[in-house]
């Protein structure tokens, strides 16, 4: 089946998807609770969409299409409250974070749905290792060509989103020394990484995709696990490198940072993207995953070493006017705060040090997601 036509979207519209953790309030390990949650949530109309993910301890929610930050944030907050209400009725905790700090992949259960079963058969333990939680942001594009331009123009900013959203310092009970260890699990998939350097949609569809399909390796765009991928049926590009932040407020801020950045890039303020930009791509991505905001990246055009934190601050200054025009300056302030106060990964590490255990980390993640972090009343957050 040839790749479908790229649907036209209104430029710079946003949609956010969040993969969330379902946690047992008894031992704070992941719990196979998504079938029960979905059954309960189906009864009333959900403010957005809610779907199962590959293992039963994950749930995915998605917002409608939004143009502006306040509406996006409002919907995310309503979605969060609905989820928490359902979780309270079923004794299930819900939280963000790119990884669960101590779950064992072997104990996960694949959701009963044919596609997930197939994926599980194909990928073996990788599909259970894939119990990781990401935020995906869709940005609307007027044409396929514009989508591919944006996708490649964003290449040098991918580390920003990794470092700002990083919330997966622990895996299987141990500190990985990474800020985003989650992305390491994504890299294990054969079709992960960067998209091929093609700038015209017709070339992408007729040459690259048609050839790949002919090889039998892929059937649809869904089979690519790229960091940024075009989504022709929505008319968007989808940024997939972010860990799910601990709070929905931060999720909204990240989405709007991307929105303002895209607005800036679409004005062609920077040198055209080129294949050679990708020479430093994997290195920069590693720096962001490993060191977070303290990482240093190599500028793809000048080969100059820059501190990731500095680069983000510079970018904030550059895109400020677009953010003002788009009404998302509060989001940019939030991003600015992250560069000073640290990412969710550093917050989680501090909680670990303070509370003394990985279980304590999950407990604080539950409180942050509820918007309840200031409350020192410990455990399971009750009512």
């Amino acid at each position: 089946m040839p790749l479908e036509k790229f649907r036209t979207s209104q430029a710079l519209t946003l949609g956010v998807e969040l993969e969330l953790q379902l946690v047992s309030l008894s031992d704070l390990d992941l719990a196979a609770a998504s079938p029960d949650m979905l059954e309960l949530l189906r009864r009333k109309s959900f403010p957005g969409s809610v779907t199962p993910e590959v293992t039963e301890s994950m749930i995915e929610v998605a917002t409608d299409i939004h143009e502006r930050y306040p509406e996006l944030l409002a919907q995310l907050l309503t979605m969060r409250d609905t989820l928490i209400g359902a979780g309270d009725r079923l004794n299930i905790g819900i939280c963000g974070g790119g990884t669960h700090p101590f779950q064992l992949w072997s104990e996960r259960r694949i959701f009963r749905k044919p596609r997930f079963r197939e994926v599980s058969m194909l990928y073996g333990y990788l599909s259970k290792q894939f119990t990781i939680f990401g935020q995906h942001v869709h940005v609307g594009c007027v044409s396929g060509d514009e989508a591919l331009f944006l996708l490649h123009a964003l290449n040098r900013y991918v580390p920003h989103f990794i470092a700002l959203s990083a919330s997966s310092p622990f895996v299987q009970g141990h500190d990985t020394l990474f800020n985003s260890a989650r992305l390491n699990s994504v890299f294990a998939f054969p079709l992960s990484g960067r998209a091929p350097f093609v700038l015209r949609w017709d070339d992408f569809a007729e040459q690259y995709f048609a050839k790949m399909e002919h090889t039998g390796v892929v059937k649809s765009m869904k089979d690519f696990y790229w960091d940024i991928r075009p989504k022709p049926e929505y008319g968007t590009i989808e940024l997939r490198v972010c860990d799910t932040p601990l709070s929905v407020e931060r999720a909204a801020a990240l989405a709007c940072y991307l929105q303002a950045l895209c607005s800036y890039l679409l004005e062609r303020n920077e040198a055209e993207p080129a294949e050679d930009d990708y020479l430093v791509y994997n290195y920069n991505r590693f720096q962001a995953c490993r060191f977070g905001l303290d990482g240093s990246i190599v500028h793809p055009k000048t080969y100059e070493q820059i501190s990731l934190r500095e680069d983000i601050l510079t970018t904030i200054r550059r895109i400020q006017s677009r953010a003002d025009a788009l009404g998302c300056s509060p989001a940019l302030e939030d991003i600015y705060r992250i560069t000073h106060a640290g990412s969710d990964a550093s917050y989680l590490r501090r909680e670990y040090a303070e509370r003394g255990s990985v279980e304590g980390m999950v407990d604080s993640a539950l409180l942050v997601f509820r918007g309840d972090a200031s409350s020192q009343e410990s455990f399971s957050s009750g009512v």
Partner: protein, 399 residues
């Protein structure tokens, strides 16, 4: 010269445990039957009243061991109960009251039809309310299940046990008061034992986490620390003639709700929990007598049927409003089958009251034995039908 009789009596327990374990493994592998069903079967067959492999008089140390085993399981049960859930979703409490009340009335009515004296009928009805948390915890751990049926059957069993103990003690109090006329004797057994057991359990729930924090052992496996604490607690309760079971349950409950620190510990106390559960389920079934079981079989079977129905209806009617599908609600009812262990221990404890409940409540012994074996299978089926158990085929094979 080897004394064969002495050797045989010394080896009775170890060999029975070996055989029970082996039979449990074989049955679990071949027919996927829950292991504890088989342990109970072996215990009953080898019991003093049947093949008499096991000695007639239970030694105090065996009773203590059984209580420790029971204590470990009930601690875990208590630890998994989230009281805040009952506030967040009041329909759980409503479900619990409905199913307990319905069971009480149905069994009382049934017993009256069988022309039992009113006091016996009341006691029978009270004990029928309780679902055995021990059986549920063991099957849940064995099946590694998780989901609403698992979660609810655990909470409901803890709640209806508390209700059953309260109602049972009140009725016993009334019976003792009627026969002896001494209010002190009546209230001592009902109240003091229960409240002191609760108090020592709750104190342990404060002290142990505090100790762990004090010794900075918060990020290490705390299985051993909790195990030793439970052993001490059970021994104390045992020696003071309190309720070790209730003390352990309260310990678990307060340790969970008062934890300022978080500890990881092995689910089901790991290998030690497995070992002691063989002993426990053999021990409990061994106390049953064939004669009694036969005597009570008619009413026993009727109780099982009526009780099952009452629980399924009581839980089913509140299923949707409390947030789960009707199907899952019915399955929670189905999983609430076992009475067994708990009831038998309560019966044993009332022997010294002067009323021979064990004789009078023969139907319960029959029901207990049947459910000791069948109960775990009911729970297992309910969990499998609710899709809360990992699929056997799941370990992915290449197509």
């Amino acid at each position: 010269m080897i004394d064969i009789a002495l050797l045989a009596s010394d080896l009775a327990w170890p060999l029975t445990i070996l055989i029970a374990w082996l039979a449990g493994e074989l049955a679990h592998q071949t027919w996927k039957i829950p292991r504890i069903s088989i342990y109970a079967l072996v215990g009953f067959v080898f019991g003093p009243a049947q093949l008499a492999v096991l000695p007639h008089s239970q030694s105090a140390s065996m009773l203590l061991l059984a209580n420790i085993a029971f204590g470990l399981i009930l601690f875990e049960c208590g630890y998994r109960i989230n009281l805040r859930w009952l506030l967040a979703n009041p329909w759980i409490g409503a479900t619990s009251l409905a199913e307990a009340l319905l069971t009480f009335l149905a069994v009382y009515f049934l017993a009256s039809c069988f022309e039992l004296p009113a006091s016996t009928a009341l006691l029978l009805a009270a004990l029928s309310m309780a679902t055995s948390p021990a059986t549920i915890v063991r099957v849940v751990n064995e099946q590694r299940s998780s989901g609403q049926v698992t979660e609810r059957v655990l909470h409901l069993s803890a709640l209806n046990c508390v209700l059953a103990v309260l109602v049972f003690k009140i009725i016993v109090g009334l019976v003792v008061f009627e026969t002896s006329g001494s209010l002190w004797e009546a209230s001592y057994n009902s109240l003091i034992v229960l409240s002191v057991s609760v108090i020592i359990g709750a104190s342990a729930g404060f002290a142990v986490p505090a100790l762990l924090r004090f010794t900075h052992r918060t990020n290490q496996d705390s299985t051993l620390a909790f195990t030793i604490s439970i052993i001490c607690l059970v021994a104390l309760a045992h020696s003071l003639k309190l309720s070790p079971v209730l003390a352990a349950l309260t310990f678990g409950l307060s340790a969970r709700h008062r934890r300022i620190v978080f500890n990881s510990s092995q689910r089901g106390f790991g290998t030690l929990g497995d070992l002691l559960s063989v002993l426990l389920f053999v021990f409990i079934a061994a106390t049953l007598e064939w004669r009694q079981v036969v005597a009570g079989i008619g009413l026993g079977l009727a109780i099982i049927a009526v009780r099952q129905l009452a629980k399924i209806i009581g839980i089913g009617i509140f299923a949707r409003i409390s947030g789960i599908s009707l199907r899952k609600g019915l399955l929670v009812g189905m999983a609430s089958t076992p009475i067994s262990a708990f009831v038998i221990l309560v019966l044993e404890q009332t022997r010294y009251l002067g009323i021979n409940l064990v004789e009078e409540l023969a139907p319960l012994a029959a029901a207990a034995l049947i459910l000791e074996v069948l109960g775990p299978i009911f729970i297992q089926r309910a969990l499998i039908w609710a899709h809360e158990v990992p699929d056997a085929e799941e370990p992915a094979r290449a197509p």
